[in-house]
Subunit: 435 residues, 2 copies
């Protein structure tokens, strides 16, 4: 398959080339892009969805549970049990490094649990809040960028202001976070995806986690929404261990600061897994204290199904290896396509994550939207430029989130070669001052 | 089995008896109660839970779904589909007399959907609200009593005031409702359980529904939370048809007034069914418009499981007949025990519902808490007196909610004979001015 890429020959950075060389390069990219559009592709790299092959790994769930009582002899088909099945909480407490009685097993969506916690703080306040957040003049969140679009749209839907800080390889820029949080009591919280972040793939180091846990905050009820969505989602055998944020915060005298979320959405079924919340005992009691008015209990049949499917925490880990075997080649294909087409040209940087679901691609400033448009017209759907920023606005218009999990490997290869062509064309246009 | 009841001999109302006759009756009840406590019973009539035999009716669910794609070819295991599977919505739209595109199929709990709608109105307001309810000086709900305790505790948790109106055989006292709603703009909503109400068993008539739909309301965004939890839960072959509140309200010029809720919690599994919301298209769009920030979609695997299990709307109806065969004898046993012990004595009135999950028992004023205490000490757990009233306070202390669904038939018979003894003893005490 020819990618019509700039080829392996000339690796001179585009910005260092003469006007004539650049014109030649631009012309070559235009021809490559024309050829690309003629292929009539229909490919989608937009969302972090598991592929069919990954979902198939969990199809034993479709014939479970075997029996209808939990470890305590309770009939899972009936009402009750707001905090979830004990044996499932024990299994995931081990995986998430928390105590089982600090862990709630809920419904199928961790996003719903995050939303519930946010709404509880808006309408009631937290265990250490002087008043409900809705009664504050202003509520502000710190948002590492690039980040997860659904985190930002949730806040925007309640008019919560968002202050961005850069997401780095070791986590959020903690100097920037500290200075935002220290003096402004309107700063009530922040998002962190600690492990294989969406989309950067960064893993928050022990040191950064410790500083986030210990930093002074003007708001007594400052919250870290610690969305550990990819805690177990390794792409290599070098498995990152998530920082133990609950213990760190407790040791630093801020036990109620973090609320951790996780789920099996990308372990079993994306729409039919089990979500988890972990926090201080007081936070958990407050969460359940409010939640009791909204639910008689989660779907315990599905929880028992998961208990029997995994068998143990080790069973979960082994299951994740099978996901890795499917996912790792796709991530390698993303890197290979970008390297082949763009390596050394100085027009793009991208992450090579050791886990998670995304590659974060930075193109030349002002080119991301153009790349997404070019790709769309060539039949390759990308996440909208800016999606990884609050209000969808990337101030440098350079970041693109690539999600290679859902398409087949060959489709990823085809799509990424096309994306590379679009990046090269947009860069050549920009540097030539045309387009 | 002897119930130590007043027997079939003397049916003179207690209030008409001479002091000597009353003293004799009281003494007989004391002996009966002493005998009751010696039996060491452990019986529970507290919650409206399906019995094990009822849950067993749906155990084919445990081996479903067969296949993982919905009618549109979408993989139900993956993310998406916020409004729920089309074929499940079509099935229940037929059963609930609504249009499929006015119906959302959600997670496992209709209580959660009610809570979501309430929270959306508090934080955003409805499609016709001048402002979020949280920004009003006061928010008040009309609450027919006796009613469902979870409806009231949900409101209380947000400091919403509750004004009670009597629940009658044909629904809420609509004259009282009209006068509360007409002039007070703080009255933003009301609860209605339209079919086989909890706990009265009342069915809202077409006429009452029409008046609720059409009545003038001072609040432009007045909402009827129409909790049709027992729409299909008939105890006789004379199946009540729920009033078509959405059409009535639309015809009356108040299309956004009602929001209907239903679920399969008492059709399949109480903890693992599917919940539904129906409303005007604008209301549904607003609901989903907010909900998109809290969820990527419901558990579609469980929805497909239900589609395949039922097959059709007629399949649901046939399934409910099997529930009726289990439940009807238990309700007959409640009536038989109360009639045998208390018939004609003028110390208790109770409902003989044609559907639903409850019998509402009114004892002499000031006696309900005493009856519950006596029963508890005899090993029979009853719902706390007052639970069917806002803040758990029954101003006349006379109402007791009986829930005979969960225990086995023989247990219902034993428990209800015991309850009747407690009612008789409490009444004799009260009329004798002792105890």
């Amino acid at each position: 398959m020819s990618t019509h890429s700039p080829g392996t020959a000339d690796r001179t950075p585009l910005a260092q080339r003469s006007p004539e060389e650049l014109a030649t390069y631009l012309e070559r990219q235009r021809r490559a892009y024309a050829a690309l559009t003629e292929r009539g592709l229909r490919l989608d790299l937009t969302r972090g969805k598991p592929s069919t092959a990954q979902l198939d790994l969990s199809d034993a769930l479709l014939r479970l549970p075997d029996g209808v009582t939990d470890a305590d002899g309770v009939d899972v088909r009936n009402y009750g049990g707001l905090s979830g099945l004990r044996e499932l909480r024990e299994m995931f407490a081990e995986l998430l490094w928390v105590d089982p009685d600090q862990l709630v097993a809920g419904g199928s969506s961790s996003l719903t649990m995050m939303h519930d916690v946010l709404v509880q703080h808006l309408l009631h306040g937290g265990v250490d809040s002087p008043r409900p957040w809705r009664d504050e003049d202003k509520v502000t969140f710190v948002c590492p960028v690039p980040g997860y679009d659904r985190h930002f749209t949730m806040l925007a839907s309640y008019g919560i202001e968002m202050l961005t800080v850069p997401m780095r390889g070791d986590g959020p820029d903690v100097d920037a976070v500290e200075s935002l949080v220290r003096d402004d009591p309107s700063v009530k919280g922040m998002w962190v995806v600690p492990t294989y972040a969406n989309p950067s793939g960064s893993v928050v180091t022990q040191e950064v986690a410790g500083r986030l846990a210990a930093m002074p905050a003007a708001a007594p009820d400052f919250r870290i929404f610690w969305d550990n969505a990819y805690a177990l989602h390794h792409l290599t055998s070098n498995e990152a261990k998530s920082a133990d944020i609950l213990s760190l915060a407790s040791a630093a005298g801020h036990p109620h600061r973090p609320v951790m979320f996780a789920s099996t959405s990308k372990i079993t079924y994306a729409g039919a897994g089990v979500a988890f919340l972990a926090a201080s005992r007081e936070n958990v009691a407050a969460y359940l204290g409010h939640q009791q008015f909204a639910s008689i209990g989660p779907d315990k049949v599905n929880q028992l199904r998961h208990v029997q499917f995994f068998g143990s925490a080790e069973g979960v880990r082994q299951h994740m290896v099978r996901h890795r075997e499917i996912l790792a080649p796709k991530f390698a294909a993303v890197d290979a396509a970008l390297t082949a087409a763009l390596g050394g040209l100085g027009v793009a940087e991208w992450t090579r994550p050791a886990g998670g679901y995304f590659v974060s691609l930075d193109v030349l400033d002002g080119c991301a939207a153009r790349v997404v448009t070019l790709a769309k017209e060539a039949g390759i759907a990308l996440t909208p430029a800016g999606a990884s920023f609050p209000h969808g606005a990337d101030p440098r218009d350079r970041n693109i989130r690539l999600a290679p999990s859902f398409p087949e490997l060959e489709e990823v290869e085809t799509a990424m070669a096309g994306v590379a062509t679009c990046v090269a064309l947009a860069a050549a246009e920009r540097l030539s001052d045309v387009g």
